[in-house]
């Protein structure tokens, strides 16, 4: 993976020293909060409901064991013993003290991690497929491009004060695990005449106005990536609305001006910008690529794996749910669920982080990933190691066999931590998971994504959940709106609202009614919730959700 060169290391050291001085000056009174706030936000430090929150970027979701151990160290030394992995491949610490943050940033810098551009109206952490370089369906590893974009966008003078935050996601596979259609720019590797390039998608996004991105270029040669991105951003910087924060995202620019106009303007600028690139970026890309050579996968037979699979139903259930196909048949991609029933989605303790770091070293070629689904992935594990890995995971409460199932819920921090929230999300997720555990229905229900946000900003991706839940404040009480039919993959779709929302103590029973309806409506155990919804439409689910309203009509 990418290793910092001397320039990167010096850059981070200088940046941290600068911030340390700024914190000092805030504390001794030479800076007011108005002066300090933009500076702390530039370094990922927010003020939340109960405390500060530090957001650390995990570039394209990739980590090695040392980095994971440093994340554990931060949790233990300067926080309350845990961290929260988010949908944007970041980790958030909920309880740091202002004075400690410079030390936290220095500890991160030692392993090449930082919190730069994890906030503010800049290009945020570039996210990517968490199965990159391991997935069977992959054309090319997208991470060298993500790293190139990171280096280009970090402190890029033209893009530090955009109209709004800007999010780029990139995938190298035909199956989209990076939600590219819900980003300001989505990049998807495609092949033309045997040569890989990018399909470029713009103007997607969730939040207050959820929109699916539109294709602005169906094929962009790899070498043109940066000049093209610069052109899109330049057009956005020019046309993007600054009069109204809610209309400032590029999705509104695309909506208001039309994709054709935007495309023309981008192409025009692209002609000019391309000339200003002298090829240095391609040299850099080649250097970056050298850091992403795949591990030398070992050989060996699968006997222990097959024996355990036959003999141990617990292992089998975990293997069936939490493994994905690796490009090498003897290896598997392991998703470690950090969604044990009743736990906070995305939270891992320092001990769990260390355990995962150790296991990655022992069994996973020293590589870990964080998914936008708030789980941790060991991308390369030889199948013969799976029984031992599974046993070790069990010891740390990390062997829950629920990946892709009803309790594998994405939930934002909501009103339990977030200053912008209108309702809680975490306890709703915890109760749904616990309820379906009690009912023992989880595996019977099969693939189902529930996503919950505590306000319209949609950090929990509720718009693209098969079942989306949005927490609102209705006259001083928590109220939850349900959407159905959202989809975060290559067939991306925004969910449709079912009708009036539900009170806090009604939301879990409402979800239960949806699931019961699905079980009676599906034409076979193979038909997923989303497929059933697409076949039968909203009405039968509405009838299940609002039985009283149906009675009145009848």
């Amino acid at each position: 993976m990418y290793k910092y060169n001397d320039f990167d290391t010096a850059f981070l050291a200088e940046r941290n020293a600068q911030f340390r001085a700024q914190v000092e000056r805030r504390i001794d009174g030479s800076l007011t909060e108005d002066e300090f706030k933009p500076l702390r936000l530039m370094n990922g430090l927010y003020l939340q409901l109960h405390a500060y929150m530090l957001r650390v970027a995990i570039p394209y979701g990739t980590l090695n064991s040392d980095q994971m151990r440093t994340l554990a160290l931060l949790a233990e030394k300067w926080d309350k013993g845990y961290g929260h992995f988010t949908t944007r491949q970041n980790i958030q610490y909920n309880w740091p003290k202002l004075r400690d943050v410079p030390d936290m940033l220095d500890a991160l810098a030692e392993v090449g991690l930082h919190a730069i551009q994890t906030s503010g109206n800049t290009i945020r952490n570039v996210t990517s497929d968490h199965f990159a370089a391991a997935a069977k369906d992959e054309l090319t590893d997208p991470r060298p491009y993500a790293e190139l974009i990171r280096q280009w966008s970090t402190d890029h003078p033209e893009f530090q004060f955009l109209g709004r935050k800007f999010k780029i996601a990139i995938t190298g596979s035909s199956n989209d695990r990076a939600v590219t259609r819900a980003h300001d720019i989505g990049l998807r590797m495609v092949e033309r005449d045997g040569v890989a390039g990018f399909e470029v998608i713009v103007g997607g996004g969730l939040g207050r106005t959820p929109l699916i991105g539109k294709v602005i270029r169906d094929y962009l040669p790899q070498a043109d990536l940066l000049p093209y991105l610069e052109s899109v951003l330049a057009v956005y910087n020019l046309l993007g609305r600054r009069d109204n924060k809610y209309k400032a995202r590029i999705k509104i620019t695309v909506l208001e001006n039309g994709i054709d106009t935007i495309r023309e303007m981008v192409e025009e600028r692209f002609e000019e910008r391309r000339k200003t690139f002298d090829g240095t970026d391609q040299v850099l890309l080649e250097e970056i690529k050298a850091h992403f050579t795949p591990p030398k996968l070992r050989g060996g037979n699968l006997e222990t794996y097959l024996a355990a699979y036959d003999a141990d139903p617990v292992f089998r259930s975990w293997a069936d749910t939490n493994l994905a196909e690796h490009r090498d048949d003897n290896h598997a991609i392991v998703t470690i669920s950090i969604k044990a029933h009743g736990q906070t989605p995305g939270d891992a303790t320092a001990a769990q982080m260390r355990a995962m770091a150790d296991l990655a070293e022992r069994f996973g070629y020293n590589e870990l990933r964080i998914s936008h689904e708030q789980n941790v992935i060991l991308p390369h594990v030889h199948k013969s190691d799976l029984p031992a890995l599974h046993a070790a995971l069990k010891d740390h409460g990390l062997a829950t066999a629920n990946v892709g199932l009803i309790s594998d819920i994405i939930a934002c921090p909501g009103m339990d931590y977030c200053a912008l929230a209108t309702a809680r999300s975490i306890p709703v997720a915890q109760e749904i998971a616990t309820r379906f555990e009690e009912l023992k229905l989880e595996h019977e229900v099969g693939h189902l994504q529930i996503k919950i946000s505590g306000c319209i900003n949609a950090c929990g991706h509720h718009h693209v959940g098969h079942i989306g839940i949005l927490g609102l404040d209705r006259a001083g009480v928590e109220n939850y709106q349900i959407t159905l039919g959202g989809d975060a993959t290559e067939t991306a779709a925004i969910g449709t609202r079912t009708g009036p929302g539900f009170a806090y103590d009604e939301i879990v029973p409402a979800v239960e009614r949806l699931i019961t309806a699905y079980l009676s409506l599906r034409d076979s155990a193979e038909e997923t919730f989303l497929q059933t919804y697409r076949r039968v439409g909203m009405d039968p689910f509405k009838a299940a959700l609002y039985p009283e309203a149906q009675k009145k009509v009848a």
């Binding site: 805030r26 504390i27 009174g29 007011t32 909060e33 003020l47 939340q48 409901l49 109960h50 405390a51 500060y52 309350k80 909920n94 309880w95 740091p96 003290k97 202002l98 004075r99 906070t344 939270d347 009103m415 339990d416 931590y417 809680r424 975490i426 306890p427 915890q430 404040d473 001083g476 009480v477 928590e478």
Partner: protein
């Protein structure tokens, strides 16, 4: 028609710790909502806010918010302030942790 004034308290976050604090009638700050000053008059509320803001070097995000009189001092009227008073629901962290350690 202007809305009738409802009683208020002044709240903020501590600069160093980030935790929730409340303005008291002796111009200090308390970690306990029940020790906050409950302000019953609209004009007085604005004056008290100005007084609290003098401390902007040590506290962050000062604002007025609704509260009501309770048997043991002011109580929140909205769930947001209720959570700020106690801490998150998933762990006994924040103020509820401090209370548990007493």
């Amino acid at each position: 028609m202007p809305r009738p004034f409802t009683p208020k308290i002044i709240t903020a976050n501590d600069l160093l710790e980030g935790d929730v604090i409340y303005f008291t009638d002796t111009n200090g700050w308390s970690r306990e909502l029940k020790e906050a000053e409950l302000i019953e008059d609209e004009a007085e509320a604005q004056l008290r806010l100005l007084e609290a803001e003098k401390d902007a070097q040590h506290v962050v995000g000062i604002y007025l918010t609704d509260a009501k009189a309770g048997a043991d001092g002011p109580e929140p009227t909205h769930f947001r302030e209720d959570f700020r008073r106690t801490g998150p629901s998933n762990y006994r962290h924040g103020k509820q942790e401090a209370a548990a350690n007493v």
